[in-house]
């Protein structure tokens, strides 16, 4: 029993943080908003140089062969930096799904491309009629009932759906399942879908943790600099207590996120409820922190020019991604109250061997 990260894991986090502070500046994020695709192959290439898309890809396929426990701190940093590129879809969900699919030909074709940064893979799931980053995807993982297909973009029709986050591009996808694109069906497909969904939920929760960290830090900075009545507004208890209450929720959400990383990496029986507890906690905290941060920034925060809304929009768009809070709340209740799937208290009821 050791609920902590290794020095290597924390070093990786620091490396990614330093990299993103240099490359994924708020100017970069904003400059992407106004482009056709909101994506830059150049930036994705740089992410690949430090290994992010291939982090979970096995070494056989040109990746780093790490686990979600290594990845969670990286995801946190991408949330903190406001990175909107398809790290969750491609680096997290698709990479593992293709490895778990049992389809060697597809895995051999696509995993090296994911690792080297030359392919974007978008993933559909049942909690949304839209697919994120389908417009730049080379390959789409699509569900047709119980079957999972891997479909090249040339074979689908996309309709872009404008949404509240200029960094996020959503599309409706029209396509026809064909035998040649089938990745898995039946029980195998259901297991793949469930694992992929839970992995996406976990990854969104981890990014939200980083978003919360950033919203809190930038608001503390503002409250320290902004003076009214001759003193920094952050010296007022009303402001202190708002931010302290958010911090309590962030830190307990963090514990859920780290545990979810472990549950996903180890396919724990409690995986579904663990990731839902994490997503619900972090999404609620991020949406609440967005409001608190806006309130502390006042009218200035209500402008397009101030950078606060870059992260407010990350909070909102990650809140709806991979199942919204209502969905995860219901899933936690179904597990805890109805026993619909396993909710296992940590430590407490481990049977004596």
């Amino acid at each position: 029993m050791d609920f902590s990260f290794s020095e290597d894991q924390m070093l990786l986090q620091q490396t990614v943080r330093d990299f993103l502070e240099g490359e994924c500046t708020v100017e970069h994020v904003r400059s992407m908003w106004d482009t056709d695709t909101a994506r830059s192959p150049e930036f994705w290439g740089k992410l690949a140089e430090i290994g992010i898309p291939g982090l979970l890809v096995s070494e056989d396929h040109g990746g780093l062969g790490m686990s979600e426990v290594d990845m969670v701190l990286v995801l946190e940093e991408t949330g903190r930096a406001g990175t909107a590129e398809p790290v969750i879809h491609t680096a997290c969900v698709a990479a593992q799904l293709l490895q778990e699919s049992g389809n060697d030909a597809v895995a051999k074709e696509w995993l090296p491309k994911i690792a080297e940064g030359s392919a974007i893979v978008a993933v559909q799931h049942d909690q949304s009629p839209f697919v994120s980053d389908a417009h730049v995807a080379d390959l789409l993982i699509l569900n047709s009932g119980d079957a999972v297909h891997a479909v090249p973009r040339a074979d689908v029709q996309l309709t872009e759906q404008a949404n509240n986050d200029p960094a996020k591009r959503l599309s409706s996808v029209e396509w026809t399942p064909r035998a040649g694109t089938l990745l898995a069906d039946g029980d195998a497909a259901r297991a793949l879908q469930a694992a992929a969904f839970d992995r996406g939920v976990f990854a969104a929760a981890a990014q939200l943790l980083g978003v919360c960290q950033q919203l809190s830090e930038m608001t503390v900075l503002y409250a320290t600099q902004r003076k009214q009545f001759g003193v920094p507004i952050g010296s007022f208890q009303a402001v202190k207590h708002m931010l302290a209450e958010e911090k309590v929720q962030t830190e307990y959400g963090r514990s859920h996120v780290y545990r979810a990383a472990h549950s996903v990496a180890n396919a724990a029986p409690s995986r579904a409820v663990d990731v839902s507890m994490a997503k619900r906690a972090m999404a609620e905290n991020a949406v609440s922190l967005a409001k608190t941060a806006l309130q502390v920034h006042g009218a200035l925060g209500y402008t397009w020019e101030q950078d606060l809304h870059v992260w407010m929009r990350r909070a909102w768009s990650l809140d709806t991604a991979w199942g919204n809070t209502a969905f995860h709340r219901a899933r936690v209740s179904a597990a805890v109250i109805d026993g619909a799937f396993p909710a296992i208290p940590f430590g407490y009821e481990v049977p004596a061997a």
């Binding site: 029993m1 050791d2 609920f3 902590s4 990260f5 290794s6 426990v69 809190s216 503390v220 409250a223 320290t224 003193v231 920094p232 952050g234 010296s235 208890q237 402001v239 202190k240 207590h241 931010l243 302290a244 209450e245 911090k247 309590v248 830190e251 307990y252 959400g253 514990s255 859920h256 780290y258 545990r259 990383a261 472990h262 507890m277 619900r280 906690a281 709340r329 936690v332 209740s333 597990a335 805890v336 109250i337 909710a343 208290p345 940590f346 430590g347 407490y348 009821e349 481990v350 004596a352 061997a353």
Partner: protein
């Protein structure tokens, strides 16, 4: 990250479980806020110590089991699982004990710790005074060194367990004209010393849980000073971290309450009684929050075992568990409907009266061990870095 228990930890759990199953009283004891209940709880503590379970993480020479904090968490999980009695000497074993371990002389450790572990000596806290509550640095009670004795004058109040405890620990002003955090000394004082008067105060439950303690030229041996003279504040803060951050409220306590709350929900639902749909979500949320608290504690213990310390983040814990405890009991009372207001002695209460007791107790949580508003200031200033002024 390794979230499985070692075979040694599993074996320890098994040993604790079987001992507790064989020894936990089948009938609940009287409240330790009554004299009868206090004596019953002291008897239980003696039995616990006889089995070697009273102080799992303490060194063997001081009455402990010599195990690490992970074993302690496992023991706590088993303790609550078994429905074992509350710890009557919690002020001593969880708060003062660790402080003596850190600041005490060898003589003090030998003198105080074993009798604390066995609850032969039960401790009361002497922090608050009538004008020093949240503003604890405003302590006025004085201790003047005369020869090898401190002569103490003044008043302490809200001394938890004060009504029946044998000893009190607290801070006293030893330097005349000193201000605020300076000039305070941490002193251990027997409550039967001449010049000490204890006046029990009935708490919200109607039972004398705490007391006012008056000192009128009370004489205490100078050897009962803990840590350096004039540095009582730093010594006391060491216990505050342990109190808020770890030992006072172990996660199993809340996991156990959450489990009972889920059971109560299921029973109420099975009886076909009306339940507000909000309650369903809130019950599940409490269960999830008790898990978050547990996970967070395992993170803290993992950090402590690799040489870390408890800092200001203890204030996060204090807020989280105290609010969670109230929320769980409020939900239970809501589920109980008309039975929610029954005392345990009412025939129709049928074992659910403990929720009302628990609610009354939980309401004190945001007040004791440092009011939650003070904790929020600590979080804002020391964790977030907001300006003091």
């Amino acid at each position: 990250m390794e979230l499985d228990f070692t075979s040694d930890q599993v074996a320890f759990r098994k040993e604790a479980r079987s001992w507790l199953e064989a020894n936990v009283p089948s009938e609940p004891l009287e409240s330790f806020d009554s004299k009868e209940g206090f004596d019953q709880h002291c008897e239980w503590e003696k039995k616990l110590q006889g089995g070697g379970w009273a102080m799992v993480p303490w060194p063997v020479e001081y009455g402990g089991r010599g195990a690490d904090l992970l074993h302690w968490l496992v023991f706590e999980e088993e303790y609550y699982r078994a429905g074992a009695p509350g710890r009557v000497n919690q002020n001593g074993i969880f708060l003062l004990g660790p402080t003596i371990m850190e600041y005490g002389t060898d003589e003090q450790k030998k003198r105080f710790l074993p009798k604390m572990a066995s609850s032969e000596e039960v401790w009361a806290q002497g922090w608050s005074e009538p004008n020093a509550g949240s503003d604890m640095a405003n302590i006025q009670a004085t201790a003047v060194l005369e020869g090898d004795e401190y002569v103490i004058n003044g008043q302490k109040t809200w001394a938890s367990r004060g009504a029946y405890a044998h000893w009190l620990f607290g801070m006293f002003r030893t330097e005349p004209d000193s201000k605020r955090h300076n000039g305070l000394t941490f002193i251990l004082c027997p409550l039967d010393a001449p010049g000490v008067t204890v006046r029990p105060i009935d708490k919200l439950s109607g039972k004398p849980a705490f007391a006012e303690v008056f000192f009128d030229n009370a004489r205490v041996k100078a050897e009962n000073r803990l840590g350096p003279a004039g540095e009582g504040w730093s010594v006391a803060m060491a216990t505050a971290g342990f109190e808020r951050g770890l030992m006072l409220r172990s996660p199993a306590r809340f996991q156990n309450t959450a489990r009972k709350l889920v059971e109560l929900y299921r029973e109420t639902e099975a009886q076909g009684e009306f339940i507000d749909s909000r309650v369903r979500d809130e019950v599940a949320r409490c269960w999830a929050d008790s898990e978050a608290y547990t996970l967070n504690t395992y993170q803290t213990v993992s950090r402590l075992l690799s040489g870390g310390k408890i800092g200001a983040e203890a204030s996060l814990n204090k807020i989280f568990w105290s609010e969670l405890d109230i929320k769980m009991h409020e939900l239970a009372l809501e589920l109980l409907g008309a039975r929610g207001e029954l005392l345990p002695s009412a025939p129709a209460a049928k074992g659910v009266g403990e929720w009302l007791d628990g609610y009354i107790f939980a309401l004190a949580g945001p007040i004791y061990a440092g009011a939650n508003e003070v904790q929020k200031n600590i979080i804002a200033e020391r964790i977030l870095g907001l300006p003091r002024k």
